[in-house]
């Protein structure tokens, strides 16, 4: 189809070139992502000198500090633990709840609606909610766990290094499992019925049906949900910031939180920038690898 071009300004706007249409977007992305990226790289070769009260060039010092910094490796391990454990829990739990809610019975629409509510709460406020519920003295969750004998009265959930990360994870599970449920549910609702009828005639068990029919047909939906949730899990910051500030020790330090605290609490501007760059590179590599392997397409 040929396109009628007019002249002048009008022609510029209505011409076939996508440039004027994309220009504002590209301008924003360049100013707010490309420029900061280069600024960050520049920062990582500098450090704030408290006595000179300015940034000085330090070469690759920040990068060698990074390799020898045990707290960095601990933050990396917390980040990956948080990422893998929560991805697994949220996918499995999300699928179980989605299968449970996949029904046309009256009332199930309401249940789906109620589950969407957790998604719009500011994560910082969710953190405060769980901080209240996990309070060692008057927290309702502490009380329940103690009543059930799971928790002894002595160890506060968020101030004990063995349980603090689990306490933070609980907030994330509560807030984002419904994300998985809603996506999986939409996938399940759109599956064709015929394969299920055939499977039933063949006498397949519920588990076989799920394993051989549901899972393969849901693979694209699961891949997209895992990608988007995975990106956010890797960047986790809000919950630990308000609930534990990374402590006790380094038990809830994620890479994002460690980078932020180095920059703003300890005035290690260059080192914080270096840490944030590591987190950026890791997430871009992992996410793009996943997109490539799982063949997710937009």
């Amino acid at each position: 189809m040929a396109f009628v071009r007019t002249r002048g300004l009008q022609g510029y706007i209505t011409g076939d070139s996508p440039v004027p249409w994309l220009a504002p977007l590209v301008a924003m992305l360049v100013v707010f992502t490309i420029y900061p990226l280069f600024y960050n790289i520049w920062l990582s070769f500098h450090e704030y000198a408290p006595f000179k009260r300015r940034l000085v060039y330090v070469g690759t010092e920040n990068w060698s500090t990074l390799v020898n910094d045990p707290r960095f490796w601990e933050a990396l391990s917390v980040t990956f633990t948080y990422f893998f454990v929560l991805l697994a829990i949220q996918v499995v739990l999300g699928m179980i709840i989605a299968l449970l809610l996949d029904s046309d019975e009256p009332g199930f629409g309401l249940l789906r609606g109620l589950l969407t509510l957790t998604l719009v709460i500011p994560p910082a406020i969710t953190g405060m909610m769980f901080l209240l519920m996990e309070d060692p003295e008057f927290g309702v969750l502490t009380y329940l766990l103690e009543a059930m004998g799971i928790l002894s009265g002595q160890d506060p959930i968020l101030a004990t290094s063995s349980t603090a990360l689990a306490g933070v994870m609980l907030a994330d599970i509560w807030q984002w499992t419904p994300f998985m449920v809603l996506i999986f549910l939409a996938g399940l609702r759109s599956l064709p019925q015929e394969p299920y009828e055939a499977a039933m005639l063949d006498g397949a068990s519920a588990f076989q049906t799920f394993r051989r029919i549901t899972l393969p047909m849901m693979s694209k939906v699961i891949a997209v949900a895992v990608l988007i949730r995975g990106i956010d899990l890797f960047r986790a910051f809000d919950y630990m910031f308000v609930m534990t500030s990374g402590g006790p020790g380094t038990s809830t330090y994620t890479l994002s939180l460690y980078a932020w605290q180095q920059t703003f609490s300890f005035i290690k501007w260059g080192y914080g920038a270096t840490l944030s760059l590591v987190s950026l590179v890791l997430i871009l590599v992992i996410a793009n690898l996943f997109i490539w392997i799982a063949k997710v397409r937009w």
């Binding site: 996508p18 909610m129 309702v140 809603l182 609702r189 694209k220 920059t263 501007w269």
Partner: protein, 292 residues
């Protein structure tokens, strides 16, 4: 049609209600905390069902009297927990950043949906990859850049950065809504002599109204709930609701009731909005990749 046995049907219903109740409980507990007096918040064992409701927490947070506190005791600007201006900050930032994100992304999404140019897939991949950037890797350099150019602590600065944060979502989501409009409609309009600009304004925008509204709602919610950019790029000038939670932690203990009251006020509009976009929610959450 696959028919469930009566036993399975009832056990499914019971399990579904039970699980949903588990997810709703923290909301219920937080919501009721907003209406509790301090002594009931700190009681052991915790009060869950029976307590004497009070509006005192809301009065302190919003600086208005409902009769639980005398008006003289409610001091706008004077009380530590007076948060009405923070709600206003949140609204201004969310509204303007959403408007900016939508304005920029409708143009871009139209080009990505309707024009076949070289490198389009790479362009989409680039937009998507900006969604992957850890906020901290943007917030740290932006802190220094904003300091240099004087955008620290300003509405403009936060609005720009929130709009940026929502751009990948808005562009990809709007593209998916524009893709739903059959290309034949554009083609017949071109035959009738309409320009691209006219097609965009008179055909695409009106036909994608619902999609644009849903996208705007999601942008609003993500700005409303955003934490790390506001935390990093503001000092005293403005603060949105998620960031002020720490100001309820005082040397004499945490003002849980007041914080819960503010939390409830922050959640209410978001709950309302999300119910409006139920139909497009999954598409929105997956950046336009999955259609319901």
């Amino acid at each position: 049609m696959i028919v469930e046995s009566k036993y399975r049907r009832y056990s499914r219903m019971a399990a579904a209600w039970l699980i949903t109740a588990l997810f709703v409980f923290p909301l219920y507990y937080w919501g009721t905390t907003a209406f509790k007096e301090a002594k009931e918040i700190f009681s052991v064992p915790p009060t869950v069902w029976s307590f004497t409701p009070t509006l005192r927490n809301f009065e302190e947070v919003f600086g208005i009297s409902f009769g639980f506190l005398r008006q003289q005791e409610v001091l706008p600007g004077g009380g530590n927990f007076y948060m009405a201006p923070r709600l206003w900050d949140s609204i201004v930032v969310a509204v303007f950043s959403t408007a900016l994100a939508i304005a920029i992304s409708t143009f871009a999404a139209y080009a990505l949906s309707r024009m076949d140019f070289r490198g389009r897939h790479h362009f989409v991949a680039w937009v998507l990859s900006t969604r992957m950037m850890p906020p901290v890797a943007v917030a740290i350099p932006m802190f220094f850049i904003y300091k240099d150019i004087g955008l620290m602590d300003s509405y403009t600065g936060i609005i720009l950065i929130h709009a940026l944060m929502n751009l990948p979502l808005a562009v990809l989501l709007l593209k998916s809504f524009f893709d739903d409009i059959p290309r034949e409609i554009d083609e017949s309009a071109i035959v009738d002599g309409a320009s691209r600009w006219k097609i965009f304004r008179r055909i695409i925008l009106p036909m994608a109204k619902g999609g644009i509204a849903a996208t705007a709602v999601l942008c609003f919610i993500f700005s409303w709930t955003e934490f790390i950019f506001v935390l990093t790029l503001t000092q005293t000038g403005l603060k949105t609701v998620p960031v002020v939670s720490s100001s309820f932690v005082t040397s004499t203990g945490t003002a849980w009731g007041n914080m819960a009251a503010l939390g409830v006020a922050a959640m209410a509009p978001a709950f309302l909005f999300i119910l409006l976009v139920q139909k497009q929610l999954v598409r929105g959450l997956t950046l336009g990749s999955l259609k319901q």
